[in-house]
Subunit: 269 residues, 2 copies
């Protein structure tokens, strides 16, 4: 039996849709803050993670997929269930770490309860497009240089366990992703660009070096493409094998309509 | 004779004011894009840097201070003067580098023309406040942890020659400075914070590791404090000996009025 630990966004929806279409069983566990389009079988809070683990064992779940964004919550002691009490120190430690550290801690908890943790891309491998330029628009030489610079920036940020994306134009970092995420970063660049800043540019997105691939790989979708167009970018570059493309047809149609390129770039160019 | 290469912002104004008050001569060279409050002796473009160097030599300038922000311009060939033509390859190379690389190239040009390049803090050492908390509000334990995390983030970004500042709340990076600068970063956080993001937080600012101190050190001033308050932050942390505080009295009054702390923190805590 497989369970889905569902955060926000399109990815958990896609996983549910595909399982239903294939007639495969899936226990959908909705993180309480996540929006309700999913109709989860179990709804849980961080403070009831211990109870959730016990319930999943009871249902015979042997495989878990964590998918979708979860904003780092505060641990509210008055909400703790009995089964969670003994893992509180580990949860508290996880919450104090960077994204990757926190994920590793949560993954370890599932594994110690006899469950294998799989990334969404292992279950739906077609979410990881092969290398190449998927759009009518093609990157130019300047874009290729900007992509190489983006790779360098994301790698440097990875050393501090932050961000997976940046916007580069004319070799310079126009924006760097932090906790609020890619869409927020692109929205901050929407509208006419301040005088003196280089025009155009691209969104570069890649997993952090050493990122644990049992959890979500980074993802883009049609909304990312539209936000990139709104920010005046020329295109989007994702690392081949490292970034998921959700709703591919819609995303490519949006890119072609806006004249943006979408380049699935092998690591290192 | 000393010359000031003046970009935008308050720092070049302060340098001019102090020289006038002391009755010391100063050749003020205004970068053309910079605003006109300075009334420069010489106005120049990047494309006329060669001509500027010749003019400064003619006037007997032996010491140069570069101060104030300059947005990376494009090199427009039709504007080149004859004296600049032969340094075009170096200018083009400088423009393609990160901030630090570009500065080093420009500094080398001045030095090859017999001029010593000094940082504004060498001329006005009181712009670098000594360590300590300068405000009524004091940092708490959580702020001290956030400051340590900020130091780690700016150091990691320095490896890619980007940014000198970030916003940290509850141990996490809320925003990271890129080309548009600190004020822009803080403005992007203004208003009510999105649900799920940690409250409070601080602005951390420090020079990049290995930054060339013959050019501008990073700086904050009253505007930074007000922008930090507008972003809902609890305070501002600058690295002792590495970040200038402009218009100190006004900045501290603004911090006290808004209840923010301003902590001049020795490197490493």
């Amino acid at each position: 039996m497989r369970a889905l630990i569902a955060g926000q966004g399109r990815l958990p929806e896609l996983l549910v849709e595909r399982h239903r279409a294939a007639g495969e069983a899936l226990v959908v566990c909705g993180y309480a803050g996540a929006p309700g389009r999913l109709d989860p079988d179990i709804s849980f809070h961080l403070e009831r993670l211990g109870g959730l683990l016990r319930e999943l064992r009871r249902r015979g779940v042997r495989e878990v997929c964590m998918a979708g964004a979860v904003r780092r919550p505060k641990l509210r002691v008055w909400r703790l269930d009995f089964a969670t009490l003994r893992i509180v120190p580990r949860l508290a430690r996880a919450l104090g770490k960077g994204d990757d550290g926190a994920l590793r801690e949560v993954i370890a908890l599932f594994e110690e309860n006899g469950m294998t943790v799989r990334g969404a891309h292992e279950i739906l491998p077609d979410l990881l497009p092969g290398p190449g330029v998927l759009t009518k628009a093609q990157p130019r030489d300047g874009d290729r240089r900007d992509a190489a610079r983006g790779e360098e920036i994301v790698a440097a940020m990875g050393a501090a366990d932050i961000g997976q994306a940046c916007v580069v134009a004319a070799g310079q970092a126009l924006a760097i992703e932090a906790l609020p995420g890619t869409d927020w970063m692109l929205a901050s660049l929407a509208g006419p660009r301040e005088e003196g800043l280089p025009a155009g540019g691209l969104l570069f997105k890649a997993p952090k070096p050493g990122q644990d691939r049992r959890a979500d790989l980074p993802a883009i979708g049609p909304g990312t493409i539209r936000a990139a167009a709104g920010a005046g970018l020329r295109g989007v570059v994702i690392e081949a094998g490292g970034v998921m493309l959700l709703d591919r047809e819609e995303a490519l149609a949006a890119a072609d309509a806006a004249g943006l390129f979408l380049w699935v770039r092998p690591k290192g160019g």
